[in-house]
């Protein structure tokens, strides 16, 4: 049996080798189909991983709470337009919900930042020290401010990479320098490591952190002390995120005295939810790619079936001879199935090569990240085998059902 299959494979290769052009054109459909799948999935996976990296820059197991719109006398204000979130809220959450491991808060504004004769207009965030650790910021030089800095409303600042590039000469050491924010002098105590783009596409490195208390008392001139622009909390375990979010909602509704049907005056987003939105987008993309790939594999399969039907007709007499000397239906069936499989598998392998090459070229030329996973390659290979089997079965069966006398007489 093994000898039979092996010799049949050799025969198939020889038959296909005799008609190289025909075999090549037949395989083209499979080559393009498989190649397209590999290239597209690699690009898709690359994009997905890039997004996942962006999501990871938010921190680990983070829940964000933003003030929501408020309806006052039938008029809806803008999101975050009302002061509904306070430091007390943040502290209460921590106190009442044990699964929260850290709580941080921030207040945001855009201000003029000046160093010597250079200046930059950028976002300045007044934050609690815990905010820096929740967001997993690390430092390329210097370090973060402390609880003492916070309590004493110290004039210290942490600079993002973009701000450093814009107000310092190349090679100038920012740590220890004195800069002015809205004319208030600050000592730079740390430079943040770059995080790149956020999920929304903004530059996360274009930022200056100062202690929250310093911001509200000495720089921003906040109307209501203790109001915050956002609360960030984190949990120890990712599985706790959804549960924690629900508990936060309950605590916040109670604290804000919201009754039954009244809508929340805050918005809660977990890192997992944001990830899911992004995954949804890439899933839609994947489904579309799969449809395109199936269509091209289908077309390739029909090509194989077509050429095999031609081959069966051309070789009717040969089939008759084989049957006369004792080939059973099964032998003829296997012979043509193996020919179909050879076409689809060789086509599939060439397609894999082209797909990998195309993905590499995309990275080199367009600079898009691509990931070629062994899973993708394996699935593409299995698909080409299945296509060969499926579309080879009809012609092979047709050959096996020939009547030996008619086949022998066929001209």
């Amino acid at each position: 049996m093994l000898a039979f299959v092996w010799l049949t494979v050799i025969t198939a290769l020889r038959v296909l080798g005799r008609n190289r052009l025909r075999a090549g054109l037949t395989m083209l459909g499979i080559i393009i189909g498989v190649g397209a799948v590999i290239a597209m999935v690699s690009i898709g996976e690359g994009a997905k991983q890039a997004v996942q990296k962006q999501i990871a820059t938010m921190g680990t197991n983070v829940i964000m709470i933003w003030p929501s719109y408020m309806t006052i006398g039938g008029v809806r204000g803008a999101q975050g337009g009302a002061v509904t979130l306070t430091v007390t809220d943040a502290l209460e959450l921590k106190k009442r919900i044990p699964i929260l491991s850290e709580t941080g808060w921030l207040i945001r504004s855009t201000m003029q930042i000046v160093n010597g004769n250079r200046n930059w207009n950028g976002p300045v965030h007044g934050v609690s020290p815990s905010y820096v650790s929740i967001r997993d910021w690390s430092f390329s030089s210097g370090g973060s401010f402390t609880q003492t800095d916070m309590e004493s409303a110290a004039r210290v600042a942490l600079l993002g990479q973009t701000v450093v590039e814009n107000i310092f000469e190349p090679g100038e050491e920012p740590v220890g320098a004195i800069i002015r924010i809205k004319n208030v002098p600050f000592r730079v105590i740390g430079v943040l490591s770059p995080k790149g783009q956020s999920v929304q596409g903004s530059d996360q490195d274009d930022v200056v952190f100062i202690p929250f208390t310093t911001a509200e008392r000495k720089v921003f001139g906040t109307l209501f002390l203790g109001s915050v622009g956002g609360v960030f909390v984190s949990t120890e375990r990712t599985e706790d995120l959804a549960d924690a979010a629900e508990q936060i909602r309950q605590v916040m509704r109670t604290r804000h005295r919201l009754q039954g049907e009244q809508p929340d005056d805050f918005t809660i987003r977990t890192q997992v939810e944001i990830g899911k939105v992004q995954e949804g987008t890439s899933e839609t993309l994947t489904v579309m790619l799969m449809i395109i790939a199936s269509v091209s594999l289908l077309v390739g399969g029909i090509g194989i079936m077509n050429i095999l039907l031609v081959s069966v007709t051309e070789r009717t007499r040969e089939i008759g001879i084989r049957m006369a000397v004792g080939a059973k239906r099964f032998h003829i069936l296997i012979q043509f199935l193996i020919e179909a499989l050879t076409l689809s598998v060789v086509g599939g392998c060439i397609g894999i090569l082209f797909g990998v090459l195309a993905a590499r070229l995309t990275t080199v030329i367009a600079g898009w990240p691509t990931i070629i996973s062994s899973d993708t390659v394996a699935v593409a290979f299995v698909f080409s085998v299945v296509v060969g089997l499926f579309f080879g079965l009809y012609p092979a069966n047709k050959a096996a059902r020939l009547n030996p006398i008619d086949a022998l007489r066929y001209e």
Partner: protein, 236 residues
Amino acid sequence: MNPLIVGEDIWKVYRVGDVEVQALRGVSVTIEQGEFVAIMGSSGSGKSTLMNILGCLDQPTKGHYRLNGVEVGQLRPDQLAEIRNQQIGFVFQSFNLIPRTSALENAQLPLFYRGLSLKEQRTLASAALQRVGLKGREHHSPTQLSGGQQQRVAIARALVTAPSLLLADEPTGNLDTESSQDIMGILEGLNRDGMTVILVTHEVDIAAYASREIVVKDGQILSDRATKGRSQVVGA
């Protein structure tokens, strides 16, 4: 010893469109092992149909055909294939070699379907080619061989399985006189070594090689008689 072939009242009826064609109409024939039989008849006489049935390529519509004691009429296609593989060797008028395939591989073909190892296939096929005088031409493809040589490859393919029955359908129909004599000489030799040979032909001088002559006409046996064999014919 039981006869090799027992045919009892064999009928073969085809339907071509609305017309019923009775190719064989009650043929009864018994052939012993080791006989050299010529089946003669003009085209359309039913001799090819008879040969297809005797060769297990076809089955009778009515009647019985027993080959080596096995009733062939009721077998399934795959069982027929197995009988052809084990017991019958075919030689056709148009050689019917597989194109672009070497003489050796053509001769190997029945053994390939028997499931022998490649080594056994090669050994037996080489021996068969040697038997028909084609030693040294194992790797020639059919187009590189003359008609007579191609027919010899076909004979090698037929005898490689050591069948009990060799069926030759107009084996010299496409050959010149000299090659015809070669081929008939080989068949004669095989018969002398004990192989049953059935020869289908319409040429009298080819039929003269056989020791028994069956004439078929209109799907029936017209005459069935022993002949003297070739030695006397050549002498005459």
